[in-house]
Symmetry: C2
């Protein structure tokens, strides 16, 4: 439990809901998932997932009330960093610039995105010196 393992696909989908809505009940997560997701998962499936995630330390559970409330244990940024680091090591030989190169090659790297990226790069450089 010191460092929770990386979330699986289904677990990550749940974490996204928790990051967006904040601490939520199983029901709220389930309904939000139903709205967003194309796939249709049952209530008990979401419950089971959240129980597993509690076990793994991915979420924290408040059981003071009869209806438990779940909250993401790690921030979205932290989780994104961990996941990207993992993929970077496994598929890009640990090269950040290769990752950026691939990100740029995607259609969704729109004009606004490019401007945003350039701003990030400037900030990063300024902070670095």
């Amino acid at each position: 439990m010191p460092v929770p393992p990386q979330p699986t696909r289904a677990e990550l989908a749940i974490l996204r809901v928790l990051w967006q809505l904040g601490p939520s009940t199983v029901r709220r997560v389930h309904e939000s998932l139903r709205d967003t997701q194309d796939k249709d998962t049952g209530y008990t499936t979401v419950l089971k997932l959240l129980q597993n995630m509690t076990e793994k330390g991915l979420v924290q559970r408040d059981e003071s009330e009869r209806t438990h409330v779940y909250e993401a244990a790690l921030s979205q940024k932290r989780t994104q960093r961990d996941l990207l680091r993992d993929l970077m090591d496994r598929a890009f030989g640990g090269s950040a610039s290769s990752v950026v190169a691939q990100a740029l090659s995607m259609k969704r790297a729109s004009a606004e995105e490019l401007a945003e990226i350039r701003k990030l790069l400037d900030e990063h450089e300024r902070r670095g010196k």
Copy 2:
């Protein structure tokens, strides 16, 4: 089989070997994995993986000789793009700039890497206009 599924962790490790060495026998892949990897996988494990990957269309097999020769079916860049796209959608809401932001926040984004990234950005912009 038109579009092969995404490689799993173990499969990706094998693909990395094939990209580096070019078309190779099971033995060569196995030995290369033994050198690089900390983990120690058996010969038949690598064989089985490669057989599965042939089934999935991730690699192509030349059986003209008794000792088969395997080759990656998709380029490294293409695979990297698919994998990054998937993670981008699942964890970053499809935002390329978020991915770049996280990539920059990593220790390994060294000075040379930053210069490389800036060059990529310039090229991309020049090509875009």
